[in-house]
């Protein structure tokens, strides 16, 4: 049966190419979001995104080390990656959810979505691949992502949803008079 994760499930090389892209894009995106928050003087959320980027970079490095043992990875064009249900790699936090007044709670909700999508992707590959080594690695990565999901949930308990009006701005950018 043809599935949307077919490429990544095909063989170890393609799976690791997908995994490396997934982890690197996640880290890069957190850095971009942190930079964006700094530009808008939202220092608390900037720091949180920066911390999340550090965690993602560590995981990317782990994947890179595993990939090294499997020789050169195939080159895959950005549009040739096949993810489960997202256009971009599933762990890259979406730009569209960012707001210049967002609070740590919102950033963690974005992270929760990203980590959940990452877990789901690896679980899908594990379920659909016919390659036992891909299945083993995908299960391992899915478990690691499940750990991240649990960790972000714990953090979220420290940052409950802010009250309505968190995005009120006494000097909003869209006043034109």
């Amino acid at each position: 049966m043809k599935t949307t994760v077919l490429n990544g499930a095909a063989n170890v090389g393609l799976f690791l190419a997908h995994a490396l892209e997934l982890e690197n894009e996640a880290a890069d995106r957190y850095v971009e979001l942190a930079d964006s928050m700094e530009a808008h003087n939202n220092v608390d959320v900037a720091k949180l995104f920066r911390d999340l980027a550090v965690y993602s970079r560590k995981h990317a490095e782990e994947v890179r080390q595993i990939a090294e043992k499997h020789g050169p990875l195939p080159k895959v064009a950005p549009w040739e990656f096949q993810w489960d249900a997202t256009n971009e790699s599933p762990e890259a936090a979406s730009f569209e959810h960012a707001h210049y007044l967002m609070q740590p709670h919102h950033a963690l909700k974005m992270a929760l979505l990203s980590e959940t999508q990452g877990n789901k992707y690896y679980a899908s590959v594990a379920a659909e691949t016919k390659d036992p080594e891909v299945a083993r690695l995908a299960r391992e990565f899915a478990e690691e992502e499940a750990g991240h999901v649990a960790l972000v949930r714990q953090w979220l308990e420290r940052y409950p949803a802010p009250k309505e009006g968190w995005d009120d701005d006494p000097d909003p950018p869209n006043i034109s008079d």
């Binding site: 490429n7 700094e38 808008h40 895959v76 064009a77 549009w79 569209e96």
Partner: protein, 280 residues
């Protein structure tokens, strides 16, 4: 899928095409994703940075040259295509990409757009369309709907029909015409790669929401859809299909076969002779 084994020489990454200048767009702006698509396209093509020039006009999206590590020229409002044409005609070996928005491209630079399509110089124009002047705080642009009433300058809406960029590009003779959406930066990267590779003037219309002045455009992600037809090399067929499209179809509309404009390279006069002509 076509895959290739990596070679020993490290392949460029999107990082290599980003500058140290951090974007100051509003968080949530579609232009972040377009920038991601641009750097991914450049990395995929292995573009030589010293042989690549990005040119822009004025506006939020025209800030792209500052955010890339290739040569950049942030020109004046609406004049990016004129400057880029000069760059490409003088140095045909360079990759020339132009970035801008709907106001810069279709209002202030509208006349240049018509003639750039007609002239068909081998370069690629990426228009980030958010249907509003964002940098000047939210006025109606040439692509704004006639009944958009959110600006105090046009409290009853602009009252005129918006320009259809894809149809206009086809009518004026652009040789490659496509539409992408910032919510899918990998597809934007593919369209840019296809546009750069295709000879002649390529127009890539990218729907890129302005979350500050047009927050309703966040809904575009559920409005866009695949164009659903194979690209044609026949501009008439492409135009007929585009007229049936709702403006949200994504894909390549035309990959034409017009010969790019490139005058002869023979030197016809010296700088001194040109300067003499300007002497009062």
């Amino acid at each position: 899928m076509d895959t290739h084994l990596t070679e020993n020489v490290p392949a460029p990454t999107p990082h290599d095409y980003k500058s140290d200048v951090k974007p100051i767009w509003c968080p949530g702006c579609g232009d972040y994703s377009v920038l991601a698509g641009i750097t991914r396209a450049m990395a995929n093509m292995g573009m030589e940075r010293h042989n690549t020039v990005v040119v822009s006009g004025i506006g939020c999206s025209s800030r792209i040259p500052a955010y890339t590590s290739v040569y950049g020229y942030h020109t004046v409002h609406g004049r990016s295509l004129a400057v880029a044409s000069g760059v490409k005609l003088a140095r045909p070996e360079l990759n020339v990409l132009i970035f801008g928005g709907d106001g810069d491209g279709f209002s202030i630079g509208g006349n240049h757009f018509l003639h750039a399509c007609r002239r068909n110089v081998d370069m690629t124009y990426i228009v980030m369309d958010n249907q509003v002047y964002g940098m000047t705080k939210g006025q109606a642009s040439p692509t704004t709907e006639a009944d958009w009433c959110e600006s105090k300058l046009t409290p009853e809406g602009p009252g005129v029909n918006p320009i259809q960029p894809v149809a206009l590009a086809l009518a004026c003779g652009a040789n490659f015409v496509a539409r992408g959406f910032s919510g899918d930066p990998n597809e934007v990267a593919r369209l840019i790669v296809e546009g750069v590779k295709h000879p002649g003037f390529s127009v890539i219309h990218v729907l890129s929401p302005c979350v500050t002045f047009r927050p309703e455009q966040r809904g575009w992600k559920s409005t866009v859809h695949p164009y659903g037809r194979e690209p044609t090399d026949d501009p008439n067929a492409a135009m007929r299909a585009v007229l049936e499209d709702d403006g949200f179809g994504l894909g390549i509309f035309l990959a034409g076969n017009r010969r790019p404009f490139q005058p002869g390279s023979a030197v016809t006069s010296t700088i001194a002779q040109i300067e003499e002509g300007f002497a009062v």
